[in-house]
Amino acid sequence: MRVTGSQLVAEVLLEHGVDTIFGYPGGTILNLYDTLYEYKDRIRHILSAHEQGAAHAADGYYRATGKTGVVFATSGPGATNLVTGIATAFMDSIPMIAITCNVPDPLIGRDAFQEVSITNITLPITKHTYFVNHIENLADAIRNAFRIANSGRKGPVLIDITKDVTADTINYKPGKPLPLDPKPAFSAESIRKVASMINAAEKPVIYCGGGVPSSGAAPELLELMEKADIPATYTLMAAGIIGYDNPRTLGMLGMHGSIAANKAIDRSDLIIAIGARFSDRVALNPNKWGKRAQKVQIDIDTSEINKNVLVDFGVTADAKEFLQALLPHIKEKNHTDWVAQATSWKNTTGDIKEGDAMIHPSEIIGAICDNTDKETIYVTDVGQHQMWTAQYLRHDKTNKFLTSGGLGTMGYGYGAAIGAQIGCPDCRVIHITGDGSFHMNLNEACTAVSQNLPIITVIMNNRVLGMVYQWQTTFYGKRYSATSPERKTDFPKLIEAFGGKGFSADTPQEFEEAFKQALKEDGPVWIDCHISPDERVLPMIPGGGTLEDMIIG
């Protein structure tokens, strides 16, 4: 079948089961959009307000559905607007296919209108990039992009196609998705070694990260926790895989982690790191972190072994495959005293309430949990509200928690919530944000309205850039440089202007009423919650610090 380059893109995307694309049209990508017109019964295109929103939507779509998100953008500014979204996906190991079109090949390198070398710009934030200026290479590039994005440690791949290629023609030979690269092989010896370390430990603790949800290893993880009676803590990227009511959960660890989690790491004699990379927000002081413990690390990416913290034993393996092989070698055991001790540290602080506002973050999150079901998808932006959500949300292993962990992208939330709601139309999507983050990309409200998405946005509005403000309070002698912008944004009025519904809340009662009302709406709703700027995220261990430096109240 003779097809154009644009039709070839559509056909190869269909081969991979793609039925949804996020994007924004423009000059060089016109041919591809003309083809989308022709394929509109099979491929749905979601137009964003800004390409960054489209990239975050493709990311949120994957995190909610497990299907690789695809984003389209035109050359030049269209392509550069994707950069933050691609970098966010890269840092959190989220597969994504970004397709951009560039100026026609004869104009490449001549500073043509809207020309930019996006393959070079995105080199450090992608697993791979393809520059396609010959139609013969196009189908292979797209098929390989899907293979690379989903093999091993996942991540984004960008394909830049010159405009002439999208108009050129070729014979299309239908194909199938390429098999993924084989997962790393591990030895029987490594299984025995890890099993013997776990079987011998008296105060073991599991520290799990994004590699666990990524490989679908949550059931094996829970089995290991139960069989060997091991308490577990998780990073932001693994929040939600262990139910909040699990008797062995210690909550999140690290800078804003729970006392229990950080203390257990400090007192433990064996730390079992699964799909986690000892980031500087977790192992704040890599030389003193978990100093009493032997450390085992299981990660699919060899380069993560010994990268940040030196471990006693490292295995390169897929978390699920390794845990499946490991479990039969694990002895049933009771660490009754150790588990009791570690979990008792959990309740040493209650919900923290600071400032003179009548509503507190813990009450907002509590009310959200009281009024949503277990299939709910929670999405955050970045900052104080993100940490409060991670801390107070009653994570259940059936719900989903979407957040920008590695890159810490303010403005991630609304685009990601849109992607999640598009991918899971029957799930409730709750977007929890702060007034700082939300001001960055709230323009995507127009997308939520035009797609009629019932996303509920809860704004923890403290009228300051809270996380930076908190650091200035604690470490900079209350010198509030550029964190109190005196904005007068009326959020309920603003969403009304976009065509959605708005509420505001000054008390827990008002919030609960507004939230219940919001659940009945068909389109997007914003709830503006007036919290105090003096509310801090606690506990907190300053960067580079240890357990001894923890600020509790």
Partner: protein
């Protein structure tokens, strides 16, 4: 894993012979902060592959980082350190020296000892070519530095394994 002792390693990398490969590899070194002494790119007997040879200084931990991070690049087919005992390393030096008739024969004598070659001669200068290990070239440079050096070009190391079966292991698919 040793995190303190510094060591020097020659690393051999087989990469796809396509445009932008060098950018991909060198940009990785730059952004990960790897310390590279030299880097050479050369053709191989397979037109689809090129060889990159780098000389790297660092700890065992940083060596592991450079090997595993580089192996993750899609264009990298094989990567491994070259075993010192079983490999041959060579470097090429071109050096231009100020030399009038009073100095010529003395310089010529040194060049002979190092089995170098005089490639060009003018009334006031000469160009010397020398191939060898980096240590040999360092030795030559040390002695020749008492003369007036006008320009120096060193290629950096390229290396090859002595044994028939390459010692290079494919770290990519392990």
């Amino acid at each position: 894993m040793d995190n303190t002792t510094m060591r020097k390693e020659v690393i051999s990398i087989l990469v796809d012979n396509q445009s932008n490969v060098l950018t991909r590899v060198s940009s990785l070194f730059g952004r990960r902060g790897f310390n590279i002494d030299s880097l050479t790119v050369s053709a191989t007997n397979d037109p689809n592959l090129s060889r990159i040879t780098i000389v790297f200084q660092g700890t065992e931990q940083s060596l592991h980082q450079i090997l595993t991070q580089t192996a993750k690049l899609e264009v990298v087919k094989q990567i491994s350190p070259l075993d010192k005992r079983n490999s041959i390393y060579r470097e090429l030096l071109l050096i231009k020296l100020r030399a009038d008739k009073t100095e010529r024969s003395a310089i010529h004598e040194i060049v002979e000892i190092f089995r170098g070659k005089i490639d060009d001669l003018s009334r006031t200068s000469m160009i010397v070519e020398l191939t060898g290990t980096s240590e040999k070239i360092d030795g030559f440079m040390d002695i020749i530095s008492c003369y007036d050096i006008l320009e120096v070009c060193r290629t950096g190391i390229t290396g090859i394994s002595r044994v028939d079966e390459p010692l290079i292991t494919d770290t990519k698919k392990e």
